[in-house]
């Protein structure tokens, strides 16, 4: 019981650290394209790590001896992980394509912040 708690806390802590890195990147980087580098990667892994930790917790704490609709929650969390892995890069790509086609200029080294 204690072991699973420690593993889950490790997962959650790693996820929240990556999510904070993504937000710091969103605030600190100089222009739109580079900001999406931070959010597209760090948020994906951070959220997946947090949900994976919760999946492990549910699988070992709530699932044993429960009814079927409770036992299916880890499967739904797995669907959520797959969906985030597919949808997050695609959404990033869609916003980036829209910005590129409407002519947002990328930042070059030495320019002012945008």
């Amino acid at each position: 019981m204690v072991l699973i708690d420690v593993i889950v806390i490790l997962f959650l802590a790693a996820g929240i650290i990556f999510m904070f890195t993504g937000v710091i990147g969103l605030l600190r980087l100089p222009d739109f394209y580079t900001r999406l580098h931070a959010t597209g990667k760090c948020d994906t892994l951070g959220e997946v790590l947090i949900i994976a930790g919760l999946l492990l917790y549910h699988f070992f704490v709530y699932s044993p001896g429960a009814e079927l609709s409770v036992k299916l929650v880890p499967v739904k969390l797995l669907f959520l992980i797959v969906f985030i892995f597919l949808a997050n890069p695609t959404a990033t790509h869609a916003i980036m394509k829209a910005a590129y086609k409407t002519g947002v200029k990328p930042w070059k080294k030495g320019d002012a912040r945008m």
Partner: protein
């Protein structure tokens, strides 16, 4: 474990608050759309973790799944609209 879930939920709320700076002030519409997409994906995780905090995750996971799909479609529609000036072509 309840305290851990509460702490993680509060930290996620803090990251949402920080992203809100970019959504409110970020120069140009694209920075705002990107920030709103980020806030949406963080909200999914927040919903799941609130379910665990109340000890009944099976009530919240369906809402989280639905919110994930809606957030993705909303971002795609917004990007299409900004790119072409219309959603359907």
């Amino acid at each position: 474990m309840i305290e851990v879930f509460l702490a993680i939920a509060l930290l996620i709320a803090l990251t949402i608050l920080l992203s809100l700076y970019r959504a409110a002030l970020g120069p140009g519409v694209f920075n705002r759309v990107a920030a709103i997409n980020v806030i949406g994906t963080k909200t999914i995780v927040l919903l799941v973790i609130i379910g665990f905090y109340f000890g009944q995750p099976w009530f919240f996971i369906d809402i989280a799944l639905l919110y994930a799909v809606l957030n993705f479609i909303g971002t795609l529609a917004f990007a299409k609209y900004l790119e072409r000036g219309e959603v359907w072509s």
